[in-house]
Symmetry: C2
Subunit: 177 residues, 2 copies
Amino acid sequence: MTWRTNHSRIVYENPWISVREDAVTGPAGDGIYGVVTLRHPAVFIVALDEQDRVCLVTLDRYTVGRSVEVPAGGSDGEDPLIAAQRELLEETGMQAASWTAIGKMNALNGVTIAPEYVFLAQTLTAAEGSAQEEEGIDEVSWVPFDEVLQMVKDGRIADGETVAALAYAGIHLGRFR
Amino acid sequence: MTWRTNHSRIVYENPWISVREDAVTGPAGDGIYGVVTLRHPAVFIVALDEQDRVCLVTLDRYTVGRSVEVPAGGSDGEDPLIAAQRELLEETGMQAASWTAIGKMNALNGVTIAPEYVFLAQTLTAAEGSAQEEEGIDEVSWVPFDEVLQMVKDGRIADGETVAALAYAGIHLGRFR
């Protein structure tokens, strides 16, 4: 056994995260481990239109400030696909006829328990039900896939989950090999 | 202004993370926001040998269990490149003559302030100074790049930062376009 939990206590909770401090015995001996658990999985959507353009949203994150990302959000406990469909609609006003689950990953696993699901959304049409203002979305843009990769390279996109989501899409689409 | 902080208090701290709860006014109105700050940036290393193989480590994460990842670790406050060189040596017993900064990203930016640096390490040679046991590393393997992408696709690799680090490497190397 690599890890043994000798004691565990919740040190903070809110509707989105729970933080606990455990007394552990691990590879380096006895110590404490602070674990942040997200209450609900998050979903990330690579929406790709018929002109090979990817949907990007620009928003102001309370944590890191202005950020360019693929549409994403918390699942609020529902099925990840349903959550992804809702988030795409809310953040961009679009719906997709084709949905493919392309990845499941864990973020920041040195500290957090945060499962994340990645979907590819294709065959897009405009719909009603956008809530961009409430979601804090300042801008929705459609950017050619190769330009999106250039934005990752030069740092205009710096959201780690967006970079990973693009990798899953690239592998699925045969662009990353 | 998208966000206003009306009040802020630290609710938990340990040597690695700090958690605060802020009273905020945001896009959806008044509420609270829990923010987890990592004390030091993390570093991720895509080590690529002359046979186009990527270094992967297998370890038991206290948070999510068994995980296959690129070498990584906390910077302990030093320069990210120095941290990356130290982590590669400690986790794999290798040193690299060529280092390239290929990405800077933020993880889990809905909740955390966690800057992360990604490096490509090439021209590798064995060295002394490994501390795999203390780091909790169970296995070090060298896997062809295309097989690594297959491992991402089929879920054998599910560490979000590893997926993103591979994307930065793929873009830099012209494999992802």
